[in-house]
């Protein structure tokens, strides 16, 4: 199995009206064997910036720790939280530094930028950014996720409707993937609050 399929993952982010949602599955596996059903793939950088890392689990944990370190230094120097666009450039640069021995991760970055405008982007393992206005996907279930998001997405959804849409897209896609699923984890972020929810999914 390719290295990207070793642990299995599914991450998706969607843009709504002045809000965004980012969701992931909860499985950690070693090839076909499931080891954990509560693995955290989405992490907070600051209140209005989240990053979901799909791909090889050890690399996603290490990359996350290095990004937190760089962001904390930035906060100390600039006395400011990083803007999502700046953070995306940081992640891309850090990944390209390892061009000939890369981190086997595909990050999905979602945040609220200036004037609380939602921002999402994904990149490949060596830092090629893909900015999107509607949704971005990553992981072993990415092809199913593309299909599900394309058909279910509508622009300018409110937070509740966005939550429903992203949850349905995630669950229906991971139900067609052997290597991801076993529940779901959704964060819906608006300028005033963050709602974190665990989804009840098929555990097979």
């Amino acid at each position: 199995m390719t290295i990207f399929k070793h642990n299995g993952s599914a991450v998706v982010a969607m843009v709504g009206k002045n809000c965004f949602a980012i969701a992931s599955d909860r499985r950690l596996g070693v090839q076909l064997q499931t080891i954990a059903t509560d693995f955290q793939r989405i992490s907070k950088i600051h209140d209005k910036l989240y990053i979901g890392l799909s791909g090889l689990a050890t690399d996603s944990q290490t990359l996350y720790q290095r990004l937190v370190f760089r962001h904390k230094l930035y906060q100390l120097r600039e006395e400011l939280d990083m803007k999502p666009e700046t953070f995306a450039s940081l992640v891309s640069a850090m990944q390209y530094e390892k061009r000939f021995g890369p981190y086997f991760c595909q990050p999905v970055i979602a945040g609220l930028g200036d004037d609380d405008k939602p921002f999402i982007c994904t990149m490949d393992a060596i830092g090629a950014k893909e900015l999107a206005k509607d949704f971005v996907v990553a992981g072993t279930a990415s092809e199913s996720l593309y299909g599900a998001c394309e058909s279910m997405f509508k622009p300018d959804m409110e937070a509740e409707e966005l939550f429903e849409t992203i949850s349905q897209a995630l669950l229906s896609s991971v139900d067609r993937d052997c290597l991801s699923g076993w529940g779901g984890h959704v964060y819906v972020v608006t300028p005033t609050e963050v709602k974190e929810r665990i989804l009840k999914g098929r555990m097979d």
Binding site: C178, M203, D204
Partner: protein, 271 residues
């Protein structure tokens, strides 16, 4: 010698040896591919079918008869191609076969076995034993050994000597036993099956054990899932006992209780 009974058709039975045009007709055989590198081609097909044993099937003998259970997922690499595959094949009203490996191989050769069993009944005026049926299948598979068939099956049935269970595979192996599990999820199913097994179980206890073993395998194994089917083979033949969706079984065994809220934001009293 390859078993070619599957290929015989009526015209060749009528004029075996010399046909209408006066030429000597060739014996029936499977068409082989015209490839420059036949060995390499065969190796590639074997590799293509290898990951196909993504499944969990199990069968065990107990006091009341034989219990047979399987999941229903078909996977192609990481993609789930179906969640509703029938992996327990009804060979005849008193014998079942399980499917693991290549679906086409299992379906075809089990049907072929059913035909042979019926022919045996007609020729000998008595039902074939499970021993005999499993031997027929094992001999067929042995003759195709090394050609890339992928079959890991259990033949379960009830004959004059009582309940019978054999494991037969495409490597040519045939084993008689009381408890078997086949497929990528079999280690997980064995764990549950072995720790809960008693010879003196009732049909309900045995079916619950079989269902639980399949459920636990679908939870841990990525290539198993869908529906857990359980069949019982008794003195009067086989009967399907249950087909429960594994997604629902999980919450049946592990009911969700509302968890305590760790942090809750409350509206501050306004001015």
């Amino acid at each position: 010698m390859l078993d070619t009974t599957a290929l015989e058709s009526f015209p060749s039975l009528i004029s075996h040896g010399i046909n209408v045009a006066g030429e000597i007709s060739a014996p029936p055989s499977f068409q082989l591919p015209n490839s420059n590198d036949f060995d390499g081609f065969v190796k590639e097909t074997i590799q293509m079918v290898k990951p196909a044993k993504g499944t969990t099937t199990l069968a065990f003998i107990f006091k009341e008869g034989v219990m047979v259970a399987a999941d229903s997922r078909a996977s192609m690499g990481g993609y789930i191609s179906s969640q509703s595959v029938k992996k327990i094949i009804e060979i005849n009203p008193y014998m079942l076969g399980t499917m693991a490996g290549g679906a086409a191989d299992c379906q075809f050769w089990h049907r072929n076995l059913g035909i042979k069993c019926r022919l045996h009944e007609l020729a000998n005026k008595r039902r074939i034993s499970v021993t005999g049926a499993s031997k027929l299948l094992a001999n067929i598979l042995y003759s195709y050994r090394g050609m890339g068939l992928s079959v890991g099956t259990m033949i379960a049935g009830w004959d004059e000597t009582g309940p019978g269970l054999y494991y037969v595979d495409s490597e040519g192996g045939r084993l008689k036993g009381n408890r078997f599990s086949v497929g990528s999820g079999s280690p997980y199913a064995y764990g549950v099956l072995d720790s809960g097994y008693k010879y003196d179980m009732s049909v309900e206890e045995a079916s619950e054990l079989a269902r639980r073993a399949i459920y636990h395998a679908t939870f841990r194994d990525g290539a198993s899932g869908g529906v857990a089917s359980v069949y019982y083979v008794g003195p009067t033949g086989w009967k399907k006992l249950s087909g429960d969706d594994v997604g629902e079984l999980h919450y049946h065994y592990n009911p969700v209780t509302p968890s305590t809220v760790e942090q809750e934001m409350v509206e501050a009293a306004g001015p």
